[in-house]
Symmetry: C2
Subunit: 291 residues, 2 copies
């Protein structure tokens, strides 16, 4: 299945969701900011994984899968808008564009994040009840606290950090949501899918650490060296570039072998590898002379 | 039905919801801030209205009603935490205590608001599907944009304000949610209940304007004169104190006559009057010599 097939479904579903905020006589700036924050430009990795899992499980209700993918990406977009704000990373650029608080204002960035969170649950609430409710429950668990991305960010305010809980919540949570929501959207039990999501999350964390260390701001579309500035743990600092690349390959191998038995198991394995390749183009790694 | 009966149900339901954030090994500061933001001290007017409507409609599934009341109040608490932040009202005090960004930090206030929004939907997602989904849909509509409190705040960033859309979204939305969610929680059609919520919202707006003009900071538990500072429309500025009191009485009369026919119609009317009395104690008005 080519990646462009996923991309079209995902962008259409996100556009439908954002369209819900444009009815009636909405406040123009907030409406524009919500659209700006959810606009194409990101890798859409989480909904791509969600759709891949749903298709591997049969994808018998594509509208539910699309809504689930859109909802998950809206939560991710909300977290980026809030994380970029001055009281967190104070970032100027995101996806190659000015961040929402710079393009609009701080109040509008705060409201945009809030609106996107609410919109995610709104989108899911319009699906068939037997799948909508577990989708909402899983998305809420992986978004809020203690097991979601809010908790992940919250750990950064602690003097003593539980590293495993921190990484699992901050980066892992939305990947676990991706695999589990993909299964639920296709009418399957989400439990066997947790490990795949957790392992993809670990791989993504290591890949993110590599990009933070290897790329410059123009290539990455956002500030680099943020981990060093904010004194956050980083796999490249701990293992070096070669060590981090080796660790990434190990995690991906574990991820693929954790895929539960399902009709589309083989193509899902290929999908995970293709997604991993998008994270770190090998041309970039070849240009890095050792560590 | 004495107000203390509602109060006990509401506080227990909120405590149950907040308890969900305390399982496992949560980040301590965020967990504490969520509890602080949802702690008793507010009037709990919105869930009181929700429970009153549910009881007037038979309240045949009290657990659903309690969850709905808690979810609605959590959204209200979230909006207070975010509205108090430096980029909005920059308020020091709320409910007689330091605001969350002062008691904890700005990052934790942002995350606390986000976590409370997510928790509200999480709580509802655990109820029976036939009521949970419409509850989630109505709460999302009245929280996000274009018809919810996010849109209401968003209007304050516009150069030309649609006053009717602004008031209906900013103050009215969660009162409409209160009456409609009360009906849904009791298995009734929410549509006939929209007008009562909208009118209570208008009454609350006028009462809030009166308190902003008549009370001092210690009595109100938050800064006064905010409308004048932020150049927001205010009924006392437009109509004077006597005019605003008269307008408040008119709106309440309309609210009571809009109550749909239901088993508990008469006691609900009393409840609306009792709630109105809590908003502006008559002793305070008697001490104000005319305008």
């Amino acid at each position: 299945m080519p990646l462009s097939f996923f991309s079209e479904r995902i962008e259409a579903a996100i556009a439908d969701a954002v369209g819900m905020t444009q009815s009636g006589m909405p406040p123009a700036q907030l409406t524009s900011a919500v659209q700006y924050a959810a606009a194409p430009g990101g890798a859409r990795i989480r909904p791509t994984i969600l759709l891949s899992v749903a298709m591997a499980c049969g994808d018998d209700q594509p509208a539910v899968t699309n809504a689930a993918g859109a909802a998950l990406e809206l939560i991710h977009c909300a977290s980026l808008v809030h994380d970029d704000m001055p009281c967190f990373d104070d970032a100027d650029m995101r996806r190659g564009k000015p961040t929402v608080h710079l393009a609009y204002s701080e109040p509008l960035a705060l409201l945009t994040g809030d609106s996107l969170i609410v919109l995610a649950f709104d989108v899911l609430s319009r699906q068939s009840p037997d799948r909508a409710l577990p989708l909402i429950r899983h998305l809420a668990t992986r978004t809020g606290t203690p097991f979601g991305i809010c908790a992940g960010q919250g750990w950064e305010s602690e003097s003593e950090i539980n590293l495993s809980a921190y990484h699992r919540a901050k980066t892992g949570a939305l990947f676990i949501a991706a695999t589990q929501m993909g299964a639920i959207a296709a009418g399957q039990d989400p439990e066997p899918w947790e490990e795949l999501g957790a392992r993809i999350g670990e791989a993504f964390q290591v890949a993110d650490d590599l990009r933070d260390a290897l790329y410059d701001e123009v290539e990455l579309g956002k500030p680099v060296g943020q981990d060093e500035i904010h004194n956050r743990p980083n796999a490249v600092t701990e293992l070096g570039v070669d060590g981090a690349v080796s660790r990434l390959k190990d995690i991906l191998g574990g991820a693929i072998s954790s895929i539960p038995s399902c009709p589309g198991e083989a193509s899902l394995a290929k999908m995970v590898q293709a997604t991993a390749k998008k994270l770190i183009p090998s041309s970039k790694l070849n240009r890095v002379p050792g560590e």
